[in-house]
Subunit: 362 residues, 2 copies
């Protein structure tokens, strides 16, 4: 029997596990916390991500190791790689962990990005503002997620507080993009170069956290452009697994925001809404199995359940949704679950999403 080791025991690990259990794949997660969501899908080694004993146990018992978040210590992945195959590889991880490297990678591939400047002092911040103009977004280069470690600078008065808040770490200043919408594109690639792309996804965030995803976005031209960017990225990184690329649509022109070297929240709709889910395709990719069909089976919509599950989850089910409860304790701003609907028309999907948002917000 195949055992997949997963660094991280959050909901993404949990859903990877749920996708693999029907294939009779065993899972072994590494997570420092007890009672992690992934415990429902396999055994959990409780230990820090850089705990050598825990990593050794993972290497010993797993046939292949992957991770479910991009802030895995690169040293841990490198250490593991000498003992067991680890996918995706360290290059993808290093680029994804540093917004500056990530932007440089995009640029080197001809993928357009918002204007940006490295910021490591108040002087360089002043220079960045002169070069990019206001508003701009100041971000930590590392350890940011769900909008954390970011500040929007709209007027010169915002500079000092933002610097106080973030200035102790290496930063990047990015032009504030007036996008018409946020998109993402998800691909899966095998070691032999075979790859597949899911339909283009539209995303809506609130307070930095993904709120709603809809797919497929029916725009051939945009999809073709996104496909080109995704393919270039996967090839350059010699990528193995699922990767998500976030894009800003600025009225038909796509700018790359960031990529995640893992299954992605904007791809959760693929569980019900695509012929093969992103979770199953990630497993297929890292295990060298043929990739499954990435076609959408209808008009899918997903809402995240953040901070609290709805008081009456049955209302979401009545509205045509499939509920995914990550089994986590409620806490403000925490992703506790999501719900997906697959409708026959985009109009019906959008109607259901509105209904779901009303249910969630009550």
């Amino acid at each position: 029997m195949t055992t997949v080791g997963v660094i991280g025991g959050g909901q993404l690990g949990r859903m990877l596990g749920f996708a693999g259990r029907p294939l009779d794949i065993e899972f072994l997660f590494l997570d420092p916390k007890t009672g992690s969501p992934a415990a429902a899908a396999g055994a959990v080694i409780e230990g820090d991500f850089d705990n050598e004993e825990a990593l050794a146990a993972l290497a010993r018992r797993a046939d292949v190791v992957t991770y479910e978040f991009e802030n895995v210590p690169v040293t841990a992945v490198e250490w593991l790689s000498q003992k067991v195959p680890v996918f995706p590889g360290g290059q993808a991880l290093m680029s994804a962990q540093d917004r500056l490297r990530e932007k440089e990678l995009f640029e080197s591939l001809g993928i357009p990005v918002p204007g940006y400047r490295s910021v490591d002092s108040e002087q360089s911040l002043t220079a960045a503002i002169e070069s990019i103009g206001l508003p701009l977004v100041l971000k930590t280069r590392r350890w940011g997620y769900d909008g954390k470690g970011q500040a929007v600078l709209r007027t010169p008065d915002d500079v000092e507080p933002a610097w106080q808040q973030l200035g102790a770490r290496p930063l990047i200043a990015e032009a504030f993009v007036e996008f018409t919408r946020e998109l993402s594109v998800i691909g899966a690639r095998r070691a032999d170069g075979d790859w597949a792309m899911y339909p283009l996804i539209e995303n809506r965030h609130r307070e930095g956290i993904l709120r709603v995803s809809k797919a497929p976005v029916e725009d051939r031209e945009l999809a073709a452009t996104a496909r080109g960017y995704l393919e270039a990225l996967l090839e350059r990184l010699d990528y193995v697994g699922v990767l998500a690329l976030e894009l800003f649509d600025t009225g038909g022109r796509l700018l790359a925001n960031e990529f995640a070297p893992r299954v992605h929240n904007s791809g959760h709709w693929t569980i019900e809404g695509a012929a093969t889910s992103q979770f199953e395709n990630h497993l297929r990719a890292i295990l060298g199995l043929p990739l499954g069909d990435t076609r959408a089976l209808g008009q899918a919509g997903m809402v995240n359940l953040i901070g609290a599950l709805p008081g009456r989850p049955a209302e979401l089910e009545r509205a045509g949704f499939q509920l995914h409860d990550y089994g986590k304790m409620a806490r403000p701003g925490r992703k506790l679950g999501h719900a997906t609907t697959v409708a026959e028309s985009a109009a019906e999907r959008d109607r259901r999403l509105s209904e779901a948002l009303k249910i969630i917000e009550n």
Copy 2:
């Protein structure tokens, strides 16, 4: 957290569990064997189905109890019902366990059945042959599954050996139906009477075991007839949960063969091929949650993997299938897994099924 108790730890229990885990439902199975397939989806109490201590543990720890095979001792279900809700109820179970009661139930609802006669002696067998004619099928009234406990009588010479083989038990003689195809129809019903039907399914058996299912069968008239039969059955039994009704199509006329008071092999395609799987809808029904959409998301085909898994399962995946491995030891005639494809056209689905059968038979 909700805990569902399941009598039986086979692949149906396993898939019920897999359907419920994303909803953060816990599962507790009762099975006499160690290492049952359902162990991948929850805890297993090892004990016989009529072991009172084991049943008591199930009643204590489960919020609701269901079963995944119809040969559960009725006494066990009745005992349990006094302590915890058990769905489907005992009436459905008793009818499904006895082919004679089942036929009488169908007839009382105006659902056509093949000619039949109760057989409990060689004289009554002779009378049955005179009344029904040859060929006929002699079946045990109880404990038959996957074609076991059956004999086809084609000539008078077949009578004696069949009687030797089966005669010690209460039997039923049924007219041998020259059907054009076998169909099944699956419904889910809640305690409040709300119910939903999946699209009509076509099935092909080999050596008494389901080999291939395809859905949806695009025939409005047949589907409407099947719907009427299913509805009558669900209502009469005041049924709660998923029920499958097997039908013979004799050139446009439907005859009821039997029903199963549980999720059904011919509904496995609903995992990938329907908006809500039969497993999730069974859970929703027994937990009083709103039923999910039963619409097909494409042209689905399922093949059972019997006796052995294909030597190179990746070939099935390459052919566009999702593999379900039940984690069982191989043994001739044993259902070890299944594989499903969802295509955009029936022609493409049929092409893939042919390819899959070639892969499996090699």
